[in-house]
Symmetry: C2
Amino acid sequence: MRELTVGIDIGGTNTKYGIVDRAGNVLLQGNIPTTQYEEFQDYFDGMASALRAGIEKLPSDTKVVGIGVGAANGNYYTGNIERATNLKWKGVLPLAKMFKEEFGVPCMLTNDANAAAVGEMIYGNAKNMKDFVVITLGTGLGSGFVCGGVLLNGHHGIAGEVGHTSVNPAGRYCNCGKRGCLETYVSATGIKRTVYKLLADHLEPSELREISFDNLNTKMITEAALRGDIVAQEAFEYTGRILGMKLAETVVHTDPEAIFLFGGLAQAGELIFKPTIKHMEANLMPLFRGKIKVLPSAMQNQAAPILGASSLVWDFLDKQVMVAH
Amino acid sequence: MRELTVGIDIGGTNTKYGIVDRAGNVLLQGNIPTTQYEEFQDYFDGMASALRAGIEKLPSDTKVVGIGVGAANGNYYTGNIERATNLKWKGVLPLAKMFKEEFGVPCMLTNDANAAAVGEMIYGNAKNMKDFVVITLGTGLGSGFVCGGVLLNGHHGIAGEVGHTSVNPAGRYCNCGKRGCLETYVSATGIKRTVYKLLADHLEPSELREISFDNLNTKMITEAALRGDIVAQEAFEYTGRILGMKLAETVVHTDPEAIFLFGGLAQAGELIFKPTIKHMEANLMPLFRGKIKVLPSAMQNQAAPILGASSLVWDFLDKQVMVAH
């Protein structure tokens, strides 16, 4: 029997799912709108029937051995989604337990950045690494830590919230309720805010002056920078400087072999990697200098969130040490 | 046979050693001057003969099953002391290998803060915890992380250097070569520097104005604060504020159940715990608020460094997963 796993990525707008083999081939994928369901039970039923329809189409020599789910505020220990701010269903949602009961296989749930870290270890650039960090640069900044080959979950199941370390206690307002958190500077939203700050403070002409805040995105800033736009270039320099300074603090906590950058901002390549590495090195305790790789994630395709979620099951089966939900 | 372990704490001035049982009773202890030996081999021979003399005095129903060593810049993976700035012997010192060959038992080496963390887990207040941090407040600020019940060593064996995260990139000069590191503010030396800064900036009378920088110590500042000295009290408030702000960043990395404070500054009790907890909570990402305990270490006696070092052996034997040197 060829073993397969299900990967589910629950976003605020869409839920993507796929069925994946151990090598990372996605045999089948689909999505359902997350926002369409008023009640959580109805959402679960919709998801379960979509999955069941998918499983029926699989070749007869295959078997689904587990379900992995990545979701904001997903807790690995409890298998619950807890008070997610990006979903309309309030309170504690016992999703792993529901999937396990419905499909009779283990279900692992964690937040999307932790799923990305395990995905990097199972399918990506961290296959032979035991100590690394994945930084996801999307709407916010997520992080997942693998230490000694094991995903760092922490005591309450909420480790790896580096996006909410402090850049400036009197700085930009953050969705978490604080001010000056790293993700308000370093993320797709953060670099937009930086562009607008630079446009406000400086006199330089810039093609970005023609674009509204709501329409502006990382790709536009990247392309403008590559065309020589000074404001766009300065926005990357500023973003990389702050990321590098804060990575220097993360490094002395867990001493990783490498830090992987994932997401749209990371796809800007040298524009973001160069200032990040420069300022990380400059701010590192000398003992660590020249030792820490900063690398692009290998998981940059559309299926990355599905692969990350599905990897939780392979990791669980590889280790066989934790109790499945 | 009753099993015993040797614990050795190598300080810049003195090396303390002891022979310890699993319950943490120190059966025998002594020390040799670290500075007396020009050559590292002579130091090792002196240490080995002192230990041999100690072992000969042990009851006949006992057996030494391993040697644990805590030393600045001790690397758990290699068993070497690497370029320690507080010792006169330069380069890489293969101490664990030498002890293993000399005594025919496993030898574990790590830095003193990591040894303190394992000591807290084996003998102290973290006996039932799997995720916690120990912050050692001595001349500098050391830190040891236990995650999922395992000491966090990192890829290069140098994890846990929280003393060298940044408070202010243009701040106080640090021994590591950077400026504004946490330990320049929060440590026995840090609070002295703060007292002198406050005496320089303010006009308040203070009994600390009569004491030279070289003579001032944490105990004097503590006693002055308890007597109502405003400068001493403000120094504790300032130190706790900075420690609390930075602990809020450490917490979101590894999500510990508790943070233990160890050392002279921690013995100031409420004077340091109160501002630390207050400012940690105020700066924490809301998701973590009210969840993280800040507690005194149970290892506050003279033998603590010996116990910490010896605990490395018990931890190794308990786990039996790593290769002994």
